[in-house]
Amino acid sequence: MHPTDNRSMSVIFLLFSLPAFLLFFSCEKDPGTPIVRQGTAMNTYVGVSIYDAGTDRGIANAWIDSAFAEIKRVEGMATDYSDTSQVGRINALAGLDSVQASPELIALVRLGLHYGKMSNGAFDIAIKPLVKVWDFLGATPHVPSKAEIQAKLPLIDDHLVSIAGDKVYLPRRGMGIDLGAYGKGYAIDRAVQLLRRAGYKELIVDIGGKLGIYWEGTRMLDSTAADVSIRHPRRSGEYLGSFRMGTGAVSTSGDYERFFIENGIRYHHLLDPATGFPMRGIVSVTLVTPEATWADALSTIVFLLGREKGMELIKKSPGVDGMIVYESADTLALDFTPGFRRRFVMAGSHD
């Protein structure tokens, strides 16, 4: 080989390595200082960030106030942790009377019933009596007795939920609906729509790690607008990996969000309506979809369906990509959709 060839090799090496260096300083378009606000709602944190360059901060803050107000409005309507919300009143009058509900809430309940049908009962909005027994948000959650769980199982049946006109009725005393599996996603979609209508073109709404991203001119995994990290399900403060995306939504449902450990066994909040116990087989599900309501609901549904049926549903859902994390011989294993596999970068395997 001639020395000139080696020199050429060196130049080529430099040409390839320089972009790697420049990557860290220039490939992420500097969006300037975003306008970021954080607060609490829906029993978790809420973050709203607007990245549009040259935005008037005062006006943006006023719109962010409106976005927060919209999220709290959805919570006030759909929470099952209050007797005065529409859902709270429906639950409180179960077995006694029907309750008038807004067209918006009726549509949300119908959506939940649709999810139940679609999942062949793996997902059930009438899960509330079991959620109450497990009390994951309580001071000292513990494993309920089998008798306690058995007593609640006949109440877990969304086929019993009756909608007539603008009224919702739960026919058995003790029944209750819980829209928590997609309520955050719905609130995200509402807030994103509000900020889009206000004219903002680059923004993120985050409710407890469920994300709605709007980045004008971009679409889902075809874009590199935002860098989304996925928390490690077993190592606090660490990350499983990351991926980049543009306009779309992300949701992760996992056994590490609301859980307790009793006698060395992890009990989490994603309950199997058939058994009354936490669903086993999956550690977490992360999905990217066009809308947050769908991302939120589908990540829960996939978790409850299990690995095979869950991945089947992901693959036949248009515009959905993602991954399922599960335990295999004391280690974590990952199932990907082809689109997500191309985008996902395992922690420590890049940069």
């Binding site: 080989m1 001639h2 020395p3 060839d5 080696n6 020199r7 060196s10 130049v11 090496f13 430099l14 390595s17 320089l18 790697a20 260096f21 990557l23 860290f24 300083f25 992420e28 500097d30 969006p31 200082t33 975003p34 970021v36 954080q38 607060g39 609490t40 029993n43 978790t44 944190y45 973050g47 990245y51 948000l137 001071a139 680059e202 993120i204 985050d206 790690g209 469920k210 994300l211 935002a226 860098d227 989304v228 990290s229 996925i230 928390r231 399900p233 606090s236 403060g237 660490e238 990350y239 499983l240 992300v250 949701s251 992760t252 996992g254 590490y256 609301r258 977490s284 992360t286 940069d351």
Partner: protein
């Protein structure tokens, strides 16, 4: 083949390798070490601390007291006077933009990066 690589070629290769390593170090260490932990209660900032330092901070929330600890480039609420301790169970956080919240205490612990470049979010 070895005899054909000149000193200039070697320097070029070493410089290139250094650039890659330097960029990695900057992106993953320097930027993180400059991060600040901001603690807010009911919308008011009550404390700020460097993520790179070791601190044990007592914060008065609206429900009771919380202990916020920073160490090894991570932050956590390690104790809290609240009914369900979801904030404590949240564990440690280390990336800019991440938040730990204690809803009953209306307390937010947030990491703000010194280098705010890029658009980052976290799921899970």
């Amino acid at each position: 083949m070895r005899q054909y690589i000149t000193t200039a070629d070697k320097i070029l290769m070493v410089v290139s390798a250094c650039l890659i390593v330097a960029s990695y170090v900057f992106a993953n260490v320097v930027a993180v070490q400059g991060s600040v932990v901001v603690i807010q209660v009911d919308g008011v900032t009550v404390h700020k601390a460097l993520l790179s330092e070791t601190h044990r901070i007592t914060v008065k929330g609206v429900h009771g007291e919380l202990i916020v600890e920073t160490r090894e480039l991570k932050v956590a609420i390690t104790q809290a006077d609240c009914p369900n301790h979801i904030c404590v169970k949240t564990g440690w956080r280390s990336r800019s933009g991440e938040v730990i919240v204690c809803v009953p205490n209306k307390a937010l612990v947030r990491i703000i990066a010194a280098d705010q470049k890029g658009v980052r979010a976290t799921t899970g």
